[in-house]
């Protein structure tokens, strides 16, 4: 397991990693969201011994903490992981895995560039430029949590305040877009 934190600074992440034994990397510039077309968290990607994507982007949780909110149970996906590790069984055919994520649009790529400029401007103390680029990023990728939700604490919006619920409802109305597979459901 390799964790990639899409956070602005190590200090944001450290309070949550005390009990974590796997490596956690910091991706403040959201390089991996461009490389792997990640549009929300948590996203889990299975990568095999030969560095091929065995199971592409999927929503999955390690526990049922958020089950009431997300409707996603942890166990079915954990079962699939155990079968992969023990028996090498991948739950998705390669032809289905190909194309399951959906390429980033040109706008979604540009949104990532604006997001990076905004976070850098913020580091320079240029709040005006930061805000301008966060707004442009959000306009270009309105359904992308790694842009919209990620920018909320950086512009001083309450992550559980009105801006969040406005975004959440908009995302629901748009059909909950996600670059990747839906959650693994319990069988039977």
């Amino acid at each position: 397991m390799i964790g990639v934190a899409l956070d602005d600074s190590p200090d944001d992440v450290k309070p949550f990693t005390d009990e974590i034994t796997f490596p956690v990397l910091l991706d403040a510039q959201h390089l991996t969201t461009e490389l792997y077309a990640i549009s929300n968290v948590p996203t889990v990607i299975w990568i095999d011994e030969e560095d091929r994507i065995a199971r592409p982007n999927g929503v999955a949780y390690g526990t049922d903490t958020f089950k009431d909110f997300t409707g996603v149970e942890a166990e079915p996906h954990l079962d699939e992981i155990r079968r992969w590790v023990r028996e090498g069984v991948v739950p998705i055919a390669r032809e289905d895995a190909r194309g399951a994520v959906g390429q980033l649009s040109d706008d979604e790529v540009r949104a990532r560039l604006h997001f990076r400029i905004a976070t850098e401007a913020r580091r320079h103390g240029d709040e005006e430029a930061a805000r301008r680029h966060f707004v442009q990023a959000a306009q270009l990728a309105p359904n992308d949590w790694t842009i919209r939700r990620a920018s909320m604490p950086l512009v001083g919006d309450d992550p559980f305040g009105p801006a969040f619920f406005e975004f959440y409802e908009e995302w629901q109305r748009n059909g909950r877009p996600y670059h990747g597979l839906g959650p693994t459901l319990a069988s039977g």
Partner: protein, 135 residues
């Protein structure tokens, strides 16, 4: 001359000039900004060269237009001359092709203590890449 931050594979600061709305880098800074250099045969990185149809469109006197060079490399780019920051994406077609072929793209990132890691460190093992965030 002004300080410009270029966000590409790394985040680096260069002396740059802005002329007619174009952000111009010293030619010698191009390799550390984007990993490519301009040679007579085109834009080159190691042995690989991309031919450039109109080299003069990249150049302003002895300087290079960052956005034009990024365009020639098929890398999306956003430049903010007022903020003094530019961001350059990865080559779009190469990235899309790798994802389509289910090749896990390589990356290098620091851990929370600043030590740098490469995905290749875990080659030969099954990996779960978990993208998460505290927001």
């Amino acid at each position: 001359m002004t300080q410009f931050t270029v966000i590409a594979e790394d985040v680096r600061v260069f002396d740059a000039t802005v002329r007619d709305g174009r952000m111009l880098l010293r030619s010698g800074d191009l390799p550390s900004a984007l990993g490519w250099e301009l040679k007579p045969e085109g834009l080159c990185r190691g042995d690989v060269c991309v031919p450039v149809r109109d080299v003069e469109s990249l150049r302003v006197e002895d300087r290079l237009d960052l956005a034009a060079v990024a365009g020639a490399l098929r890398r999306p780019v956003v430049v903010d001359n007022d903020a003094g920051i530019a961001a350059v994406a990865l080559p779009a077609e190469e990235r899309a092709r790798a994802l389509d072929a289910l090749e896990a793209p390589q990356f290098t990132l620091p851990d929370l203590d600043g030590r740098v890691h490469d995905l290749a460190e875990w080659h030969g093992r099954k990996k779960l890449l978990l993208a998460f965030a505290t927001w």
